[in-house]
Amino acid sequence: MGELKLMKGNEAIAEAAIRAGVDAYFGYPITPQSEVIEYLALQKPHETTGMVVLQAESELASINMIYGAAGAGKKVMTSSSGPGISLMMEGLSYIAGAELPCVVVNVVRGGPGLGTIQPAQSDYFQATKGGGHGDYSMIVLAPASVQEMSDFVPLGFDLAFKYRNPVFILSDGLIGQMMEKVELFDFVPRWTEQEIIEKNPWATTGKTPGRERNIITSLYLDPGIQEKHNEKLQAKYRKMKKEEVRFEKIQCDDAEYLIVAYGSSARIAQKSILLAREKGIKVGLFRPITLFPFPFNEIKKMANQVKGILSLELSAGQMVEDIKMAVNEKIKVEHFGRMGGIIHSPAEALEALEQKIIGE
């Protein structure tokens, strides 16, 4: 068993970065995730693992530092919240276009605009449907505990390097700020320079006589070549959809109704289904862990079993569109969620299920 610690979600992300052998973290402070860079600054990992920690002048700069270091084969990550993530969208589009591996964390706060510093899940569309310009996708992992904040960092890097693609951790202010017990994984050494060159033969590590020069770019002026590049990206996304769907089912076996929720809403819904079962209503919880690729097929299967689905999100209803697409009008699908940093209670969620799904 690994080392046990009581930590904030944001601290767990930072500790996991050091332990996962990350080469650099570039970031810019923003509430509710500033503890990530603060924790790293305090730990001074450059003295232990050699990890670089640098506060950039903006999120534009930090995401482009990520681009540069990732393009040179290094394991690098950044984190931010809504307004900062919006600034990173340009860089993320370039990173996806140039097929660079990296991990980006969004500890979501309520929007739009400067919004609030309180938790929300209103950046689902931005994370799963592109966000930046052009046809691209990122693997999106949604942690629902401090444990998963830690575990998804090494998982994120495995997936990022497997697919040469950015991996997004879509958390929120609740998971980022709350403290829980976390079992820390053992330290993984950083890749040596030789390992980087061997594992990433495409990276700009310096042109040696034996190989062609390596170019990191997303520019293909010839439409035919650009289309081929797009087709290659799409093939990669199809492979992700086939192989990387992750989800959790809680009390779904005998369920007559279903709540679909991810992240903090899934934690709230865990209590809602207990309250429902105390009242004799058989409700299950389906928790997507990957929001891209979204578990369409598994939700489609659930639609053969349950009478209705409530999508529970801290937003005006974004994931509900994907659920509706999966269910294709076979059963009733409704959304419930508070906004602006207000967190729905388990009882509120159950009441919404009773009124919107069971009642009619």
């Binding site: 700069a61 482009n64 270091a69 290094k74 590590t205 042109k207």
Partner: protein, 262 residues
């Protein structure tokens, strides 16, 4: 027939000039008369002379030199508009022994990327920034740049740059020279053989600093022409540059080894 003719002349002992193997054989995308090709060649010659091809990573910007990686025979990354210094920071911080340089135009470095330029120089990031200033947006077809001269015409200031309305040309070299993070700041040109030699010497110095130790950011501006954008012949453009660009952007060293040149 053609080959026979050349074999008479093309002999090792007759060679006075040879293209460095660090320039690829791709046909340059620049207009005839443009200074980019010369600037590219200078940098590649220096990398060749130092024998550091295997250790050098270059960053191409958005602008006419977006395709610099087609011509420079080294590992390169293409950066988003204005972000080259941030990209270079990411590389240099994680590969501190590599030799890193950015190659940027005026719109890229002094407009959209001003924040990255200033903060990179302020942190004293240990790499070279080569800045090509031709006072216009060449690639997008001749729009106003942050360095377009007062009264100078472009497609977005067709009646001439009105400084009351559009602001003044930005002397970014003088600006970054004031920051403690810069080690070398110089403004040069590539329009005459003498200018080419001077520019090569100063860029060589910048590479030397980076090879030796962590000294800080080296910033070399090259005032160049854009005969297409300026709607002139190459000869006219060079003359116009001498008469108009040089008085506003005077050539010479601005900061040497961390000290402002008086």
């Amino acid at each position: 027939m053609k080959d026979e003719l050349y074999t008479d002349i093309v002999k090792e002992e007759n060679l006075v000039y040879k293209k460095t193997s660090l320039m690829t054989d791709n046909i340059l995308s620049y207009c005839p008369g443009c200074g980019h090709g010369t600037a590219h060649r200078i940098i590649m010659e220096i990398i060749d002379e130092f024998g550091i091809q295997k250790d050098t990573i270059g960053i191409a910007p958005v602008g006419c030199s977006v395709l610099a990686y087609d011509f420079m025979n080294i590992d390169m990354q293409q950066a988003a508009h204005g972000r080259a210094p941030a990209v270079a920071t990411g590389i240099k911080r994680t590969w501190p022994k590599k030799i890193v340089f950015t190659y940027q135009g005026d719109g890229d470095l002094a407009a959209i990327g001003t924040a990255e330029t200033i903060h990179t120089c302020n942190r004293g990031e240990n790499f070279l920034i080569v800045f090509i200033n031709n006072g216009i947006y060449g690639m997008t077809g001749g729009q106003m740049a942050p360095t377009t001269l007062p009264g100078m015409k472009s497609s977005t200031c067709p009646y001439g740059r009105d400084v009351d309305m559009m602001g003044h040309p930005l002397k970014i070299a003088e600006l970054v020279a004031l920051l403690p993070g810069t080690h070398l700041v110089s403004r040069q040109a590539v329009h005459t053989p003498a200018a080419v030699r001077k520019t090569k010497n100063i860029i060589k110095k910048a590479f030397e600093y980076q090879l030796k130790a962590k000294t800080g950011t080296c910033f070399v501006e090259i005032v160049s022409n854009c005969n297409s954008g300026w709607k002139m012949t190459p000869v006219q453009a060079n003359k116009w540059m001498e008469e108009n660009m040089f008085p506003y952007f005077p050539l010479g060293d601005i900061k040497i080894e961390g000290k402002l040149v008086q």
